[in-house]
Amino acid sequence: MTDHLEANLRALAARDPARAARVAAAAKVGTLAAAVSGEPTLVADGVLLHSRQDPRAEAARWAATQCAGAADPKATAVVFGFGLGYHVEALAARWPARVVIVEPDDGLLRAAFAARDLTALLGRVELAPAAIDRADIAGWGAAVLMRHAPSLLREGTALRGLQERAAGLTALRELRLRVLVVSPLGGGSHPIAGYCARALAELGHTVRLLDLAPFEGGMGAAAQFTPRRRAQRLVEEAYVRFLAAGVLAAVDAFDPDLVLALAQAPLDAAALAEVGRRGAVRAFWFVEDHRLFPYWRDVIGGYDYFCTIQETFLAEAAALTAGRVCYLPCAADPGIHRPLELTPAERETFGAPVAFVGAGYRNRRLSYVPLLDLGLRIWGTQWEGAGQLLSALQRDGARISTEDAVRIFNATSVNLNLHSSTWIDGVDPRGDFVNPRTFELAAAGAFQLVDRRALLPALLVPDVEVATFAAAGELRERVRYYLAHPDERAAIAAAGRGRVLAEHTYRHRMETLLATVCAHEYERLRSRPRPATAADVARLEAGTPLGRLLGQLPPATPFTLDGLARELLERKGDLSDPEAVLLFLHQFDELYVREARA
């Protein structure tokens, strides 16, 4: 057995030495057993990965089925799950093009490498990285995804997630979705609706942001009708129904594939049912603490996808819905949260040795008092009655615009970021999710001190990519330390920014959300009536000037005059004939046809 391992590792090292080293270092998983045919088979996590009778014969049948079902034999075959490699061998023998294996479990690979001579196979197939990203999937080109079902039955491995993500991202390459983003009336999740809409548009989808901010005053004014709470609630519920009717009208006008509602968006169960009847997928991003805002229990059943920033709460949420529940942490928008070149005057206005931007929750009031003599400045609302801290409060506690907040982040040496709590005086020991400010500060290249959160280490490495503190009592010392060590501050801020740009932008989040949706709804979304894409028509027009032009556009560009015009306007230089003909038709459409169509 040992002979196989070393030879197999050498074969893998020839292509991917880092992965070979990780496999060599991993502990074997599973239990080997001999099949009736004499070949080894493997049981891992209680799942039998290959036949106990004849693994090779089973693999040959699997490969034949896969090849028969594949429409494009020139495409890359991507196999999810390696097992002991029988099925991959059978496929590689029949498949004429590239074969890529996705198997994130190094321990499983080690077991397989030890059990069988796979050197020839490892020279023929490629092993995908343990974490697949968009670039890997793009690198596959046209791809046929093949599932090794027993491998996907194993619990606790990353394979299922990778398969879902790859299926979703592959599907997304062919789909340009129409997404209606519904904002709340106001509050902390309101700007996130805008960030999501921007990110979705950047990803090439057609987006309409339904910004409900103009209606915020109406909700606040409900109390003017009556001092009685119960009566006020009835008025507020009627107002929500009114707003939901507006959202439905927007759905009818825009005909979205996906309605993405942000936390507090005014959609009640009846409206959500109507949205579903119109064929749109309904997703909700609950960017709030479920312990603090229990309303999620009333709405979760109305959504097909419920995304939470609290991974720890997935099971509880899943129990209350037939839809899917997924973890989607907060993020930053690097177009807005970015390093700024500030003038000396701006530094004077917005800068401080230590500062905080946000609302005056009780735990912040208590924790920040010891920092007053360190040059503390406080920006934001709800600091009324904050005692001595009022001497540090800027602009009399006025609301701070996003633009000014980014200036403050940039001008401040140590930005404080204590997650709010209404029941703990300092750092919430049960605090799990990571707030948007964490990502926004990091994206701005600003240095921050954030309280430790259960979900933080998986997102930003504590004290490497973000400086942390565990208790309010140590805050003063940490601030003083970092004020005295500007180089450390700069290094941590730079590392944090790098990580956020690489993994934690709204673009990443929206891609993850859409990949999840597409992995499960691909057929449904694809079957919705939608205009042909530039890629569809480019195929029909192969070799013609129109075909050549369409081939240069993003493949999912809708083949409509508006869709094409949007892309063509982005192009520079002289117009080609096909561009000018389309421009002519677009002008004609605007002059004579648009009104008839409306």
Partner: protein, 552 residues
């Protein structure tokens, strides 16, 4: 353009506009007898072209079909694309050596850019997709459309000048086909109209509601004309006018012959030819009557002005409702079109009776009896340009004096005609013009600085900064034009002139830009002096900067 052999004229969509192209086409053919003239026209209006002399080929484009394709099921856009691609290829294969685009739309500009005829006059497109208005007469026309109170010339004269036609017929032209003439004769005979029966045609409809005269007014006019002339009334209009036709016909009983929505274009020409007078708002049939030689009493209200789209021929009558708000902005829907009520049926009846009798003294007397209207007689001035002359003894209103002064200025600028000072002087308008002289002088200095930097080469940053400053000065100038009507047309033309500068050579572009700025400065001086000659100057100077403090 010395001797074009293959000429393309594009005038896609309007019946009246096509007829207004006829003197240009005939004039072109007279100047270039060997030239072959193709007119590209929307299919619905192709019949108009078949009656215009001197057209060698009518090339139809079916925009209805194109619209159906774009509205239709999947695949329609592809089909539409290929049809336009084929159209462009076919037009290119004709190897035209002169194109005249008389459709002022971005759509037609793109089409002309695609066909790529050299030279092209009118709206076309640069290689990188920007609108270009080629030819200064075309630019002046486009600028005048945005500054209509100063409209110096009749549309037909712009068309002619843009094409380089110096003489040409002083009327519109349309040959009535013998078959249509016979059909008209038969129709009128069937309605009991004898050859000697006075026949007055009413064009009831118009392209937009704001251009239509009220039904009750038509009925009152019909009754009065029958009473005074014993006239029968021929009701004309398109398919959309059948309802109003039926209403007027019902009210007039056997006096009316309702032809609304029942005639081809050729038969309409024949019927109008047979009529003794046509009463009409500013419409396509008005131009048809002019083209077949029937006297017109044209009603101008709402957005219509007799100066720019009035009958192009001598001895027609225009009744213009001179209200402060005229002409309506094309983008405005008037909630109280009182101008139509000012136009009394009794006044129109007097005009028809006098014109039928060719009695211009009676027309002048009638003009004095109805002073709320401006009564005009159409004709041509000493330079051969279409003009209207005020009838009666009333002095021209200020607007008319202003328009005449502008007309004299533009004739001097565009044709080198002798300059004529406004009489009486117009001190306010002159002051407005003088108010921009400081700014034009500053812009000239800046344009010269840009030219020096461009010629020297090297310091790109300085050149960019200087060009940016010039752009800012231009923006102030355009704003001045938007705020001060007397400067509006001059600055609009300057804007189009600047937009039409083409080329890659920075030094050459800077030189042309400087020349344009110098011309603007000189023209502004010249116009200010003409409007308010120095010897009689009385007005205050509106200084740019003071007037716009709130905008800057």
């Amino acid at each position: 353009m010395t001797h074009p052999e293959r000429i393309l004229i594009v005038n896609l969509t309007r019946f009246g506009d096509l007829l207004q192209t006829s003197p240009t086409i005939v004039g072109l053919k007279a100047q270039h007898p060997a030239a072959h003239v193709t007119v590209l026209v929307e299919r619905n209006f192709a019949d108009v072209c078949r009656g215009i002399p001197a057209i060698d080929r009518v090339w139809e484009i079916d925009l209805d079909r194109l619209g159906r394709l774009l509205l239709g099921a999947e695949g329609g856009l592809r089909q539409a694309y290929h049809e336009i691609e084929e159209l462009v290829a076919a037009l290119r294969a004709e190897r035209f050596d002169l194109a005249l685009n008389y459709s002022s739309s971005r759509m037609s500009a793109v089409l002309l850019g695609l066909i790529g005829v050299e030279p092209t006059r009118g709206w076309t497109m640069t290689a990188d997709g920007y609108r270009l208005i080629a030819g200064r007469w075309s630019r002046l026309f486009s600028a005048a459309c945005l500054n209509r109170r100063q409209a110096p010339f009749n549309l037909v004269d712009y068309y002619k000048r843009a094409a380089g036609v110096t003489g040409g017929p002083q009327r519109l032209l349309y040959d009535v086909a013998p078959a249509a003439r016979a059909a008209a004769r038969e129709r009128l005979a069937g309605s009991g109209v004898a050859a000697e029966t006075p026949l007055v045609a009413f064009q009831l409809g118009a392209s937009r509601a704001v251009r239509r005269w009220p039904t009750a007014s038509w009925v009152a006019l019909g009754r009065e004309l029958h009473a005074r002339l014993g006239a029968r009334l021929l009701l004309c209009g398109g398919g959309g006018d059948r309802e109003v036709g039926a209403e007027v016909a019902a009210a007039l009983g056997p006096l009316a012959i309702d032809c609304t929505g029942r005639t081809s274009i050729a038969e309409l020409g024949a019927l109008l030819e047979r009529a003794h007078v046509l009463v009409t708002p500013d419409t396509g049939p008005m131009h048809m009557a002019v083209a077949v030689g029937t006297p017109v009493v044209a009603l101008f209200f709402g957005p219509a002005l007799p100066f720019d789209t009035g009958p192009y021929a001598a001895d027609h009558v225009c009744l213009h409702v001179e209200v402060e708000c005229a002409p309506c902005d094309h983008n405005v829907t008037c909630l109280e079109p009182f101008c139509r009520q000012v136009l009394a049926p009794a006044a129109v009846a007097e005009a028809v009776v006098a014109r039928r009798a060719n009695d211009w003294a009676a027309l002048a007397a009638a003009a004095d009896r109805w002073p709320a209207l401006a009564w005009y007689r159409t004709g041509f001035d000493a330079e051969g340009l279409a003009d209207v002359t005020l009838l009666g003894t009333r002095s021209p209103r200020r607007g008319e004096t202003l328009r005449r002064a502008y007309r004299a200025f533009w004739k001097a600028v565009m044709d080198g005609a002798p300059e004529r000072a406004a009489s009486p002087a117009l001190p306010e308008a002159g002051a407005a013009l003088r108010g921009m002289l400081g700014l034009t002088a500053e812009a000239v200095r800046q344009a010269r600085a840009v030219e020096r930097l461009a010629a020297a080469g090297g310091d790109l940053k300085a050149l960019e900064a200087a060009a940016r400053t010039l752009e800012q000065l231009d923006a102030r100038l355009f704003r001045f034009g938007a705020m001060h009507e007397p400067a509006g047309l001059l600055l609009q033309l300057f804007r189009f002139d600047k937009e039409s500068i083409e080329g890659e050579d920075v030094a050459a572009l800077a030189r042309v830009t400087r020349e344009l700025h110098e011309r603007l400065a000189a023209d502004a001086h010249r116009l200010a002096a003409l409007l308010d000659p120095p010897t009689v100057r009385t007005g205050a100077v509106a200084r740019e900067g003071e007037d716009h403090a709130s905008l800057s």
